[in-house]
Symmetry: C2
Subunit: 670 residues, 2 copies
């Protein structure tokens, strides 16, 4: 992301060698006979001559998820029902009502069964949620709050009796909230102790929710010297509105959070409980139960273990957000790339204007982003697969992996997408600012993805904490989870890697070798991890563990990001290798190289500081990155086509009647 590092001096002997290598390389990349361009054309676009030809169909089918048909069914359902489409301009109250109608229609008319998918096939659920988000992100979130958060809490934390009884409601967390058991009436009494414990931003609470899952500290009378005992946080199903009259129930106070930057189809509210009584059966009792006479039983021995088990069941939301976020990034990149290919501006004297994507600066904005979109696609698909697997096998090591990976990918991907949505708007100039072209609503709706289901800065710290724990375990001979394997296998190898010889290797063959790329990523992670351990140890002596952690916080966040990047690259390299069609594989390899080298170049200061790369190698990396951007630009149209997004998702909103849209399409020639 740092465009400020520039190769300044080209008058090095190595540059001509570099050019020769690149030429050689381009021949490898182009199995078809080279089209000989006119010097003129070559001058304009630099690399168009070497355009890589590949089988679009096979790349597209490699990218296509296995639930694509289900997604298309959802999109078709809304396409054929204009009265269910969200118009460009809509008031908050109308949007809330429309969103509720959309959700009801999805379940009742389109016969989508999200609760069933959550249980039987989570990957299908995430695919449906992504498609629903393409109709309106508010609808995607409303579905997620209702099904994944509320439904998921009941399904994952409750037992059969809950699954049988509830499938309609909302979601709450409020860790200062208290649930005391009243043996006389066989009820729990839920209380919000103070204003600060009011839980804000609960989706569906302001208007539509009928039930809430409330997380509260369970307090039981122990009949010993202590009197009361805190058994830790448990989930409780609390009715908040009358099922028939929809009136707020006694003891429940609901505040409307009001108008938001985006997602105004979702009615967020704040909840406060004042001695609200619920039957004992409403405790979600999978990890801990209370008997009729007030005795506590649990398969897990400590409060912390129960809390961890409970939280572990709630990672589905993060998996869904990471996956949806990539979906929105695809839409934005597709819009921006197509617009930039069509839109022409300026050009050489007395010649036609050139496509704005032919400008190096525009390639710099969009091509690494396109490469990252591919990278995130494979990484989040893998996460969804892993999540589906743990729902079936409950493999403990994999559970740990999914927990850290979902936190890491959710935060890394949503932060990246948020920035990119702004960049795409800028890349489309004034037309990007027209509401009809969606980039504004995508950004406003997606913005909060960075904050809900765990603030990104907090989640990255979880990843860092997990890495530190793994590091400690490694040296104590304990088990390492799958994704972290390389730390055990070769951390010492990585750390001993930089040497004056390889630091000077600068051929394109070397720089495009997946081993060099992955080594560089992992070296960086290993080094950051090792030095974080040393810094934390040093500071904790004088400042305690909290003070030491805070003093190393930027370092730890960088470590977490670096780690996530290495996971993403590893998955991308694997996906390139597994691609069955040779020409598609060559295209993916090009994109993967751009992803890897652009990331290395962005952190070039770090690599230079420890002499992992020599100055001329740094320059070679920069040159090659620019060259790869040119190359990817030449197939950018085909690469976004391979995302295979339906036209009414990428070209315009569903409300096609807008006059502005007609004019826009006329102008850019869609």
């Amino acid at each position: 992301m740092n465009p400020n590092q520039t190769v300044e001096d080209e008058s090095q002997p190595s540059i001509t060698a570099m050019t020769r290598r690149i030429q050689r390389l381009s021949i490898h990349l182009t199995p078809l006979p080279l089209f000989q361009p006119s010097p003129q054309l070559n001058m304009l676009t630099c690399a168009k001559a070497n355009k890589l030809e590949f089988d679009k169909g096979s790349l597209s089918s490699y990218m296509r998820g296995k639930y694509r048909e289900s997604q298309e069914k959802v999109l078709e359902f809304f396409k054929s029902r204009p009265y269910l489409q969200t118009p460009i301009e809509i008031s908050m109250n109308e949007h809330r009502e429309l969103c509720m109608r959309q959700l009801m229609a999805l379940v009742r008319e389109a016969k989508i069964k999200p609760f069933r998918y959550i249980v039987e096939d989570p990957a299908k659920y995430f695919a449906i949620a992504e498609a629903v988000g393409n109709i309106d992100i508010s609808l995607g979130i409303k579905l997620g709050v209702h099904c994944s958060l509320w439904g998921g809490s009941v399904l994952n934390l409750g037992t059969k009796k809950h699954r049988d009884k509830y499938f309609d409601g909302s979601n709450v967390q409020g860790l200062q909230t208290i649930a005391t058991f009243d043996r006389i009436t066989d009820e729990f009494i839920i209380d919000t102790p103070n204003d600060g414990a009011i839980k804000w931003w609960i989706g569906n609470a302001a208007v539509h929710g009928k039930f809430a899952t409330v997380f509260a500290k369970l307090i039981l009378t122990t009949h010993d010297s202590k009197g009361d005992s805190d058994m830790g946080v448990h989930g409780f199903i609390v009715p908040i509105r009358d099922l028939k009259t929809h009136q707020t129930l006694p003891g429940i106070e609901i505040h409307d959070c009001g108008h938001k930057i985006g997602l105004n189809g979702v009615d967020n509210g704040a909840l406060r409980f004042c001695s609200v009584r619920i039957p004992r059966d409403n405790l979600l009792n999978r990890f801990g139960d209370v008997s009729r006479d007030g005795k506590y039983t649990s398969s897990l021995p400590t409060i912390n273990k129960r809390f961890a088990a409970m939280l572990g069941e709630l990672v589905g939301g993060r998996v869904g957000l990471a996956s949806s976020s990539v979906g929105f990034l695809k839409i934005a990149v597709t819009i921006a790339v197509r617009y930039s290919l069509l839109r022409q501006q300026f050009g050489p004297p007395k010649q036609p204007e050139v496509s704005i994507l032919d400008y190096q600066s525009h390639q710099h904005k969009l091509m690494p982003m396109l490469a990252s979109t591919y990278a995130f696609h494979f990484a989040t698909r893998d996460l969804v697969d892993k999540y589906s697997e743990i729902k079936k096998t409950h493999n403990e090591q994999l559970v740990g992996d999914v927990h850290a990976l979902s936190a890491g990918l959710k935060s890394y991907v949503t932060s990246y997408t948020a920035k990119s949505l702004s960049t795409c708007r800028e890349a489309c100039g004034g037309h990007g600012y027209a509401a009809v072209n969606r980039l504004g609503s995508l950004r406003n709706d997606h913005d909060i993805f960075q904050t809900f289901e765990g603030d990104n800065t907090v989640l990255l710290q979880q990843v860092a904490g997990d890495l530190l724990k793994q590091y400690k375990d490694k040296f104590q001979g304990g088990p390492l989870s799958v994704t972290w394997n390389y730390l055990r296998e070769s951390m010492n190898t990585y750390l001993s890697q930089p040497n004056p010889v390889t630091a000077r290797w600068e051929s394109a063959d070397h720089l495009r070798d997946p081993k060099f790329q992955l080594d560089a990523f992992r070296y960086r992670t290993s080094r950051l991890l090792q030095s974080a351990v040393a810094r934390l140890r040093k500071h904790s002596k004088t400042h305690g563990s909290f003070g030491a952690w805070n003093r190393c916080l930027n370092h730890l966040l960088t470590l977490a990001e670096s780690f996530i990047e290495s996971v993403i690259l590893a998955k991308f390299i694997e996906a390139v290798q597994n691609c069955p069609d040779a020409s598609s594989r060559a295209a993916l390899k090009l994109v993967c190289d751009l992803y890897a080298l652009d990331r290395i170049w962005n952190d070039i200061g770090t690599y230079r500081n420890v002499d992992y790369v020599a100055p001329n190698k740094a320059k070679a990396i920069h040159k090659l990155t620019e060259y790869l951007s040119f190359q990817v630009r030449n197939i950018a149209g085909e690469l976004v086509d391979a995302f295979d997004l339906p036209p009414y998702v990428t070209r315009a909103p569903l409300a096609m009647k807008s006059e502005a849209y007609a004019q826009y399409t006329q102008l850019v020639g869609f």
Copy 2:
């Protein structure tokens, strides 16, 4: 902007020396007796003990613009008229009408005379425009389109007859549009030759505009072998709607651009002209005129000179945007800093939670941003002063300066502000997402500042082009403009600077020496400029000038940004030195050091690549930057107070009745 570069290894002997130096330094910074904190407090906040004490009042009055009272009058006017305040939720059509009523009230009731200020005191005009933008950015832009763009074109390009006649209308540019002179009727005929020449996004065109300034190629019959001659682009006043009926006039086609991401109070439209006849007097004839018999006269010899003179008169818009953009950045930083000081989360075991601004990661997000806001404040204030001066003196060198500086600062500042508005939202978590807290509307309204009045990427290229021209002039002995002086004075000195001795100096005294900082910024600019010249020369042989420019585009953009940064730093250093109160000066020095070192650290790869700084010096810069962030955090509340923004601008929108707002204030304790 690159948080990924982290000092990894603290086990260096120099670090303890560093700590000693920092301790010594903190004594210099704190002239008052040191408050001895408890070790506990020290552990939490690291630097609170060394809090710099300074006279808030004197800093505030140093920062305060001389038109502050006029600004407050505007704000008070709207505060006391709730019916003129923009509600949180408003439809596009209502917003457009409200915005028009606000503008009329501003002129008719509040007796603001923007046209007079534009002529007599541009700095006052910009101050009023900023205050008006604080009411609603749409209103600020509607005022700007009406007064600065349309009014400015008439005032600056027209002659007395125009100033006397027109003060009501709108603005258009459309460089393919043609104006031919009809000698028989003494009229110009305005024509839009094709769809592509339709000018989009003209402010006030969709609904309210009555006149438009149309830029068109003037075609005159020459009665020689050529037949017709293109005299270049000229401005024409074209009535677009009937003054009484407000009906669109014959031959004028107006399209509504529709709903936008933001600024929906401004009615943007597209205009098309079909043989529209206007009197000869409607030519804005300051730089070129047509006589009754169709003869052309001009004080300027060529089309290019006339075009440049005309464009030169239109830089006011950019000056205004740069200045307003800093105003919005101040609002957002103030909201985010105050929220982050009040909001507490987590903390050491069994102790109260700490303010989220005590987290290193949060400081990393907000403190360099706060420092940049101060830096931009002084740089744009200087630009406004320079602009006011050229309007009086027409000093040619200064005109050149203002032209490049307004392009550079507009693009640099608006890009920075756009990113920062997102960061501020994230820093305020869920509450930042509530519409009532303004960060969403600020971002959406401000977003297009990056695109209109010249796309930022295009404007930076103008700056780069200007630098290259200056460089060429230098070696040909020509004159250099004021701001570029250092290139003449000492470019060679800068380029010979890096040497193995100074590259190793790493004391805080050295790193905080303005000379070191400015040298580093200017070294980078000089080097980028020198290498750009070499690269362009090399590429232009094989690829022509257009191809060469495009191949070096990222490099040239970095050069332009680097140059603007060096101008900003120079102005900041000057402002520190000129501050009359010693304690305020110490506070400003702290902020200026953070600005300078944070920027150097962000480009550390570049400095390392050429061994301008040795590895340990790079680490020392990073450590000191983090330390300065801690220090600035300790006076962050006072620093935002010194912006002296009225409470109803920073704390909440004008519509205070919202229930959500009441709850928000309750929650965070404002």
